[in-house]
Symmetry: C2
Subunit: 313 residues, 2 copies
């Protein structure tokens, strides 16, 4: 059987056993497992890594505990502003979207942009008009409402504070970078990466993070690797994290593991950039580095059943 | 005297002597010269490369023949949507903005975002609100009106065609990627890069190009180089052009010239990505590669008076 593999994440940050209930941990692990299985089933039947990462991310977007799609956090204005991007390692084709408020699955729109817009990156309300012109149905704002996110927002909405998903003030030291993502290798040797986020609670001024930025939050190239990031986006943009890993492999001959360790556990740490990423290379090697307390993650391959993890090993 | 140098561009594309009048060429050359001198004067007195690239780009934004600031092209909706970004090689700090319609000098707003927002990238109307909260005055849409741009838009506005500044249909084969940008090295050894654009004539759906993307249209790192791109942005984003040049220098030991040639005249050409860039390294070496017919460009240094060029050598 030919090689195939997938790895996903549901965000990184101050995720500690002491802040988790067994019931909530089970909910997270089950969701990570189901999302990975959704992608794995596609890879198993010989379909594309692009389909697999889209399916895995859609599952995570639909699951309300992760900060993407349903469950996206509230902005300062009480709205939801979501970003996503997707990239295909075979041809370096990419699609990205930022600041959409009525798209059930932003990753689907990112793929639609890649395939039907003639562009790479569309933004804001006009991106929703593009979605409609392609037959995509817009969701009312109420679809994205969850009580937990609303409460988080109420706690900080009259302040100038923005929060990276859960923040210090809310849950005893928890700071979580809410993003979801997936990378995969299919049986044809093609890599793909996808990332989706609801941004920061109480964020203002149309802030865009690394999620829709090709090269920062998402990158895929059959010659090197596929990467999906989660973390303090400002640092990931300034460090061009995803493409940096690809370049360290292509130009310096580092392995995926070596490149990931250098970027996540050395360069980003020195800058003060907290977070992590999931990565896969063209041989199916997987790396899941993070420099925070934890990262919701899962992986599987042609020869390995789904594994889930949350904390440091 | 310590080294310092600056290079600027005013866009690349099908710019041919046969499509130019002597009067118009003089206008362009004078504007390129004046913009370079604005930056050079700052470098000469020992101020920062960041101030120099901002001043040069502001001059180009204020000059109506270039597609940025005053002179920005019209969108499909008859509006102006401008993008810009700036980066400081000393500390990898960066600021970016996209989709603003009432900012006289988007490069100033990009710098303000870098220095006062706590973020890297703000987008759309909320970015204008941030500008106002910092005391920046918004301009009425009429400020950005120019007759030439209006006529260009009228010719295509009822079509689905978008145009990269001037396009085939309008001026006998001219296709111009309207962007302005600057890179500089100051006497303290610090590099900086800045890029600003009015986007594509008749563009729809909130399209974002490479200009506001750190790593694609703009990058600066004292360890390698500073880069400002102009071209068909979709390709520049997928190729992560600016950071690719930096990585080829850092990880593969290429010179600035070698890295620029590989990316602009080989990799981008193979992808079908037309355009160019201006680049400078920490020794003050300058590269001005492009794979189109021409690129509006100018450069100067501590030892060389301002030079301007438009066509291939």
């Amino acid at each position: 059987m030919k090689k195939f593999a997938i790895a996903i994440h549901g965000g990184a940050g101050t995720i500690l056993p002491s802040l988790m209930t067994p019931e909530k941990e089970l909910l997270y692990r089950n969701a990570l497992k189901a999302a990975t299985e959704a992608g794995l089933a596609i890879l198993k039947k010989g379909s594309s890594s692009l389909d697999a990462v889209e399916a895995a991310v859609m599952y995570l977007e639909d699951f309300p505990l992760f900060n993407a799609g349903k469950g996206a956090v509230f902005t300062n204005a009480g709205t939801h502003e979501m970003d996503a991007s997707i990239m295909e390692g075979l041809n370096l084709e990419a699609g990205a979207v930022s600041g959409v408020s009525h798209i059930k699955n932003p990753i689907q729109l990112a793929r639609l942009i890649k395939e039907q817009s003639g562009h790479v990156y569309l933004s804001g309300l006009p991106a929703e008009q593009f979605a409609q012109s392609c037959g995509m149905v817009l969701e009312p704002s109420s679809y994205f409402y969850t009580e937990e996110r609303y409460k988080q927002w109420q706690q900080v909405k009259d302040s100038d504070t923005y929060q990276l998903d859960h923040s210090d003030k809310i849950e005893q030291g928890e700071k979580k970078f809410g993003t979801v993502g997936a990378v995969a290798l299919d049986q044809h040797g093609n890599l793909a990466a996808a990332t989706s986020t609801g941004g920061m609670t109480n964020k203002r001024f149309g802030r865009v993070g690394d999620t829709p930025i090709i090269g920062a939050g998402t990158y895929a190239n059959n010659a090197t690797c596929a990467i999906s990031c989660t973390g303090h986006g400002e640092f990931f943009m300034r460090a061009v994290v995803a493409y940096d890993i690809s370049c360290l492999m292509a130009y310096k001959g580092l392995t995926l593991q070596e490149a990931c360790r250098l970027v996540v556990n050395d360069k980003l740490v020195k800058m003060g950039g907290e977070g992590g990423l999931v990565a896969i290379d063209s041989h199916g090697n997987i790396a899941l580095p993070f420099n925070s307390e934890g990262m919701y993650r899962a992986w599987a391959s042609a020869t390995e059943l789904v594994q889930t993890a949350i904390y440091k090993d």
